[in-house]
Symmetry: C2
Subunit: 104 residues, 2 copies
DNA sequence: ACGTTGTTTGGCTATTTGACCAAATAGGCA
DNA sequence: TGCCTATTTGGTCAAATAGCCAAACAACGT
């Protein structure tokens, strides 16, 4: 693996690491519907608000979501909807596994 | 998050965790070209062979690659090429970040 | 200015992950 | 059988991750 390649795959991994958590995938799914503030997401998720805030920071640092302060609250929304295609990718893998199972 | 949802996102996360490593993304990329055995991949990657073997196990458990013993060697290949679309997803996010940068 | 609500940050602990080495295992082939 | 090559497994250690709590911040309304 050359240095160039190394850097390229590190960068790709940086994004995919941000996606590698059930809560963060859930957040992305929710933010696809509409914007939500931290408190609202926290209620839906059912974890400590500081935990949710940190997950949101991870997604923001990966450039997947973006925040916007409005009044008292910080609203988050998807920065690029292209991450949604990730869901179909993941689902494809899962389904394809199931298919393979059936042959055995 | 309902129990059903919890289980769904855990499952999606299970796959995305398997993708969340530069070396594993590199392996996927390489296996897209052709089958390779552990030793060959190890040489390309430049890590300990046991490390590479473990990465391959992770990918195999996620149903992303599949192994096939031939003679003395274990060859790995992509189980479902649909993971390749993951690369364009990740690249999209990165590019979209770059685009956003340019506006600031 | 003060209290209230919403959010982030820092600190701590527990768990998971990734790397290497050494040892065990598996399959050819002499 | 015994050696050799290829691969996996187990152990250990360091680093990263995720969770919660408490404290700090920020912005609103009184």
């Amino acid at each position: 693996m050359t240095d160039i390649e190394k850097r390229k795959y590190d960068e790709l991994a940086r994004i995919s690491k941000a996606l590698a958590h059930a809560t963060r995938l859930y957040i992305i799914h929710k933010l696809d519907e509409q914007e939500y503030c931290v408190k609202e997401l926290t209620e839906m998720i059912g974890a400590d608000i500081s935990t949710v805030s940190k997950h949101l920071t991870v997604l923001k640092n990966a450039g997947i979501i973006i925040d916007k302060k409005r009044g008292n609250c910080v609203y988050y929304k998807l920065q690029c909807r292209c991450v949604l295609s990730m869901f179909s990718c993941l689902t494809n893998v899962i389904d394809s596994n199931k298919d393979k199972m059936n042959f055995t």
